[in-house]
């Protein structure tokens, strides 16, 4: 046999140069395994004894398989069931049945407007996309806004007005309000309290102001579980009045984040991500490449993008900012113990000084006021004020109202007779020490207005359902103060009332029409003769032009540093850090399956909020992923599973808010741990962890990342800007020249286009907006925690996260992985029924109707991008039934036993090519955009015709950074990557974070 030489080993090894030594790893287990070098993967065939023990024997399985195959054909022996066609009585003007319509509207998230374009099929909203004209989104759309369309059809939304739990009519409420009003009028509102969520809506604020004037003795409170008061407080310390900072990342060459997750979690994050990542283009050799330093308490996507990431417990961020301020010559008291190493500090400060005028410091929303004050003072010293950071009057109009703690005091003092809760859920989101659940029940008359009959609604005398933003008339301001309108795409599905309707009811006890209420406000803001014209223009564009406030001119007060608190000694104790969940925010979105199943960036965890522990701490307590621990703070105790996260500060445990709901609905109830039970009101974001006790219990976490093993392959390519400039071809590894199999010739059929995709790893921030966009566009089912834990997640697109370096100070890179649409696709020849075929224009087509579920294709796919419907995930009997109304009518809903995968949004391709053909013109570059590409905040995805040499995707693919994943397998993927380029500070030196 030795004479038969199939291949020469050395010749194969050479093309695989770079396979090892990249040093990337995805989990700690993987790192440990590669260090031990050579633990065998589990064998292909299971142990025979194990087979004996199975409840169903192998023979039985074969019998059942045979029988079901024989019977499967029988289902085809009937005609299709008859269908109705129901035309309109009177067709709306300009509506063309079968064609989607788009309307501009806004989705308020944490109060701030996200401008969207809502796609509507025959009056049924199905998909939200970013509004390119809206300053907060510029056409991008984050996962939370995307998922709003699923919440619209949520059967658990509150359907009716309830009085002490029993369904009643809105009229009955109006009657009660009428009586109450007379009483409130008589006493000027004494004993009446309002608790509101943060409100940016100008019309709502005006209506609230009207009520304030009418009942001057009524008290108003504002409860924001994602408390941003420190932002305003910090600015006030520096400049004398509370203002909202708005950052101009497009002008920054250097950014320092002080625990700010400005790329994902702050108001304006979509815009910030776009602006900042646009400043980091390695191809553009003329422009500078912006550098990011991140000091952060929990690994976030911002830290992952940063060149230099310094992890430290939450309370130490203040000490670090003092150190930086002091090194820059500001009059700030030094912390008792320095936290930043001298070298890091020196390199950072030199870099900041060097970039004066183009350097920016961004404090985190959750950090205390002192960090904000120091950051703004540093910005002033760097000359960033008014150029890189502008200050506007806060969009949240009720930010100065006292917080929930003050309301709690008032209730304890029996000052509160009647309490109106406007869109807030304080019984769930109140800090543990306030014990608001009991206090609330001491108020004699309680009214709750909210989308869900939630924890607070359950304990209220009256509950009024709120409308969803897609069925409401309203308005909201964006992060920069731009006002935009919220217009309904559909009549309210239930008896929901808009905020303006409720405020009108409180004021006049009448049921007003929501559109008129909104128009009434805006008519006053506009000249009356042009109002109708303007109104239509605003509705069409989704934005009210020139409505952003002009930035306020500020100057740093000389006394700013004297107002800083004394530096506190560095705490030795363990710290519990709380943070808003990137998907569920404060828990408001807990009943949304898309958001629950969205892999959280960095952890890739779904359906749970694990306690994030550093590897060192986990080792000390002998904990591993999924072990349940009990956490005790001064105010409460809760149990949560452990997730060991490289990069987590050693003495800090992080837990996300928003889980452990009891009245969220069928999806969100009892998912994860309620972190509010650990939260003290005076230290909302970080508090001392009094005890961390392993309980000895364990549960499997629903993680995505571990599903497909990396096996040391060279999937990620990354380098520094310096190396890239010196060696632009670093990502070009020699292509294979030998194959064991005959090469398929060029396709026989003529193709008009050649579709391809390129993904820029330098631009990807790993936010997962694309994953949810894909889910919404392609009718991807929600499978639930148990199925995700088994590796049955259905997302067609996954964002892989890779670590490199040491587990305590790792670097992170993200890689979105859709179907590669290989020209030489390994999945195609193995399908016994030809259910996956190649099209001449380069699509790897999946034909669901032909698929019999052998899963050979998935076995043979080196990228593991095919997903199998193991169970019925879509019908009414499924664990999380699909909601037919939200489904895209242009995409098949797949059933059990069928393989599926990314199609490059073939329905969009077909529509665009058909439109171009009907209009008798060539298809323009950029006319077809895939759902993932469209939602991407940083424009990291390019899609188009690679046969057109001038298309954007062709330009990207001609970059020296372009490489194909696993190209040594000779699959010739149509989806390729641009290698990641970072721009570290050479002065930072080895070993520094």
């Amino acid at each position: 046999m030795s004479s038969v030489k199939y291949w020469d080993k050395s010749s194969l090894e050479e093309p695989l140069y770079g396979k090892h030594g990249t040093g990337y790893w995805r989990t700690l287990n993987e790192l440990a395994e590669s260090a031990e070098c050579g633990e065998q993967p589990p064998g292909e065939f299971p142990d025979p004894e194990y087979l004996q023990r199975l409840p169903v024997s192998r023979r039985r399985v074969l019998q059942l398989l045979g029988a079901s195959m024989a019977l499967a054909g029988a289902t085809a022996c009937k005609r299709q069931s008859p269908e109705d066609i129901v035309p309109y009585v009177q067709r709306p003007e300009q509506q063309v049945p079968g064609r989607a319509e788009y309307y501009a509207t806004s989705i308020p998230i944490d109060g701030f407007a996200h401008g969207v374009l809502a796609e509507s099929h025959e009056g049924r909203p199905t998909k939200l996309e970013g509004n390119p004209d809206h300053p907060a989104t510029l056409g991008a759309c984050d996962a939370v806004a995307q998922a709003a369309v699923l919440s619209l059809y949520d059967p658990d939304r509150s359907p009716a007005v309830r009085r002490e739990g029993t369904i009643t009519s809105y009229g009955a409420l109006l009657e009660t309000l009428h009586q109450r009003q007379q009483q409130w009028d008589a006493e000027q509102g004494r004993g009446l309290c309002f608790l509101s969520r943060p409100v940016t809506s100008p019309s709502e604020l005006a209506a609230m102001e009207h009520l304030r004037r009418r009942w001057p003795k009524a008290q108003w409170f504002m409860h924001d579980p994602l408390d941003r008061s420190a932002t305003y407080e910090g600015v006030k310390q520096c400049f004398g009045s509370p203002l909202e900072p708005v950052y101009q990342f497009g002008r920054a060459d250097l950014v320092l984040s002080l625990d700010a997750n400005f790329l994902q979690s702050q108001p304006g994050a979509l815009r910030y991500a776009r602006d900042f990542m646009a400043r980091r283009k390695p191809e553009n050799s003329n422009a500078s490449f912006a550098r990011l330093y991140a000091i952060e308490s929990t690994p976030t996507v911002t830290g992952a993008v940063a060149e230099h990431r310094y992890g430290m417990p939450f309370p130490q961020v203040e000490a670090a900012s003092r150190q930086i301020a002091q090194a820059m010559g500001l009059a700030v008291k030094a912390p008792p113990q320095p936290v930043l190493t001298d070298r890091w500090l020196q390199a950072l400060v030199e870099d900041l000084e060097h970039h004066k005028g183009a350097a920016l410091v961004v404090p985190g929303d959750q950090q205390p006021a002192s960090v904000h004050a120091i950051a703004h003072a540093i910005n002033a010293a760097l000359g960033a004020t008014h150029t890189l950071v502008e200050y506007i009057p806060p969009a949240i109009g009720n930010h100065s109202d006292p917080p929930l703690a003050s309301l709690a005091e008032a209730v304890s003092g029996a000052e509160v007779e009647s309490l109106v809760v406007l869109g807030s859920n304080p019984v769930y989101t109140g800090a543990a020490d306030l014990d608001f659940r009991h206090l609330y029940q001491r108020v004699p008359w309680r009214l709750h207005w909210g989308e869900y009959n939630d924890e607070t609604g359950q304990l209220s005398h009256w509950h009024v359902p709120a409308t969803h933003p897609l069925e409401a008339w309203g308005d909201a301001r964006a992060y920069d103060g731009t006002a935009s309108l919220v217009q309904p795409l559909i009549q309210p599905l239930h008896e929901g009332k808009t905020a303006l309707q409720l405020l009108a009811a409180l004021s006049q006890a009448t049921d007003e029409r929501p559109r008129e209420l909104l128009q009434e406000y805006w008519r006053q803001q506009s000249e009356s003769e042009t109002f109708e014209h303007n109104w239509r223009r605003w509705l069409h564009g989704g934005v009210i032009p020139d409505s952003a406030p002009t930035p306020v001119s500020v100057s740093l007060r000389a006394s700013w540093s004297r107002r800083l608190p004394e530096p506190s000694p560095g705490a030795e104790a363990l710290i519990l850090q709380l943070q808003p969940d990137v998907a569920l925010r404060d828990g408001h979105y807990a009943n949304n399956g898309w958001l629950q199943e969205m892999p959280r960036p960095i952890t890739t965890l779904t359906w749970d909020n694990a306690a994030l522990l550093s590897p060192q701490l986990a080792k000390r307590y002998k904990l591993k992923d999924g072990d349940i621990i009990a956490l005790t703070t001064a105010v409460g105790r809760a149990e949560a599973p452990v997730y060991v996260l490289p990069g987590q500060p050693e003495h800090a445990v992080t837990l996300a808010l928003g889980y452990g709901r009891t009245y969220a609905g069928r999806v969100g109830n009892a998912v994860g741990t309620n972190a509010y039970t650990l939260r003290p009101s005076n230290e909302p974001w970080a508090t001392t962890l009094e005890a961390l006790t392993p309980t000895g219990e364990h549960r499997t976490l629903a993680l995505i990342q571990n599903h497909h093993s990396i096996e040391g392959r060279d999937l990620i390519r990354a380098t520094t800007l310096e190396d890239y400039r010196a060696n632009p071809d670093f990502a070009q590894h020699p292509a294979p020249s030998k194959s064991l199999y005959p090469e398929p010739g060029p396709p026989q059929r003529q193709a008009e286009h050649a579709w391809g995709m390129a993904i820029d790893l330098s631009a990807c921030i790993g936010c997962n907006a694309c994953v949810t966009a894909c889910q919404a566009e392609n009718n991807i089912p929600v499978v639930g925690a148990e199925e995700v834990a088994r590796g049955h997640d259905m997302h067609w697109l996954r964002v892989d996260r890779y670590f490199s370096g040491s587990p305590d100070k790792p670097d992170m890179v993200f890689q979105p992985v859709p179907c590669m649409h290989c020209e030489n696709a390994p999945c195609e020849p193995v399908c016994p029924v030809g259910a996956t075929q190649h099209s001449a224009d380069g699509l790897n087509q999946m034909v669901y109707q032909r698929c019999v579920g052998t899963r050979y294709c998935s076995q043979n796919c080196p990228y593991k991008v095919r997903r199998f419907n193991w169970f019925d995930y879509t019908s009414a009997r499924a664990r999380h039934p699909a909601r037919p109304a939200v489904q895209n009518p242009d995409v098949t809903v797949r059933s059990r036993g069928v393989m599926e995968k990314c199609t490059y949004c073939v329905q969009r391709l077909n529509e665009a090519t058909s439109n171009a053909e009907a209009e008798n013109r060539p298809l323009a570059d950029g006319e077809v955009r895939t759902a993932c590409q469209q939602s991407c905040p940083t424009r990291a995805i390019s899609f188009g015709d690679i046969a057109d040499r001038h298309s954007q995707v062709s330009e990207w693919k001609s970059s020296p950074l372009n490489y194909g994943m696993l190209e040594h397998l000779n699959t010739r993927p149509r989806t390729t990557y641009l290698a990641a380029v970072r721009h570290p500070n050479p002065a930072m030196g080895e070993g520094e974070p």
């Binding site: 129901v86 035309p87 063309v96 079968g98 059929r749 099209s839 001449a840 058909s914």
Partner: protein, 216 residues
């Protein structure tokens, strides 16, 4: 040791084998025939409609163009069914008391749509596009038959994948000029016209049998 099987056993085995193959063959033939039978394809079926609408009268008799009622056929995947108002453009003046039209008047009065029965019911996984066909030289008649001769609308084509592919693979004989798209009884093109039409509509059959043209 005695023979286990008598000579007769050979005959029995042969008989059983022959019966087995015969049954399989007959079964397969039956299955194929069933699959193409009008029972399963629905050819010739005439679903009962809320109003016995006659295409023969409206198209054949009055000469109303298809697009007067099926308005979106050139713009959308769906040809569109007339709203009640469209019916009432004429029937508010003509046959205003006809009992047959009571459901139409009732629909307008109550603001409740008419519920028509689908005659051409494609499988849900087929994404048929009316616009792509009528703007590329495929006439209404090619799939829907001579509706101008149908007092009640019935299905004329089997709508099987084979039937679709027959035309997708060789569309030329089924084409007609843009001016004759809604014409009934249009003669099939001769070979010169076929070539011209293929060129005029820029039809490339090699791309028309890709899976994702109809399935996605």
């Amino acid at each position: 040791m005695a023979q286990l099987f008598r000579p007769r056993a050979n005959a029995i085995v042969r008989l059983v084998m022959a019966a087995f193959f015969a049954t399989t063959l007959i079964g397969a033939c039956f299955a194929i025939a069933l699959n193409h039978s009008p029972y399963l394809t629905g050819v010739g079926s005439t679903p009962e409609q809320p109003v016995p609408f006659s295409h023969k009268h409206h198209v054949g008799g009055l000469g109303i163009d298809c697009r007067y009622c099926h308005t979106s056929v050139e713009q959308s995947t769906f040809a569109g069914l007339p709203d009640t108002r469209t019916c009432m453009t004429c029937h508010s003046q003509l046959w205003t008391n006809a009992e047959m039209l009571e459901p139409v008047r009732e629909s307008l009065k109550r603001d409740e749509p008419l519920r028509w029965q689908r005659v051409h019911n494609l499988a849900d996984y087929v994404y048929f596009d009316h616009r792509a066909h009528v703007t590329n030289g495929v006439g209404c008649e090619s799939c829907h038959g001579r509706v101008d001769k149908m007092p009640l609308t019935s299905q004329r084509a089997p709508l099987t994948m084979q039937w679709c592919l027959d035309c997708h693979r060789s569309p030329a004989p089924h084409l007609r000029g843009a001016e004759a798209i809604t014409a009934m009884g249009h003669p099939p093109p001769d070979s010169t016209t076929q070539r011209q039409l293929m060129q005029q509509f820029d039809i490339e059959p090699e791309r028309m049998s890709e899976c994702d043209v109809c399935h996605r």
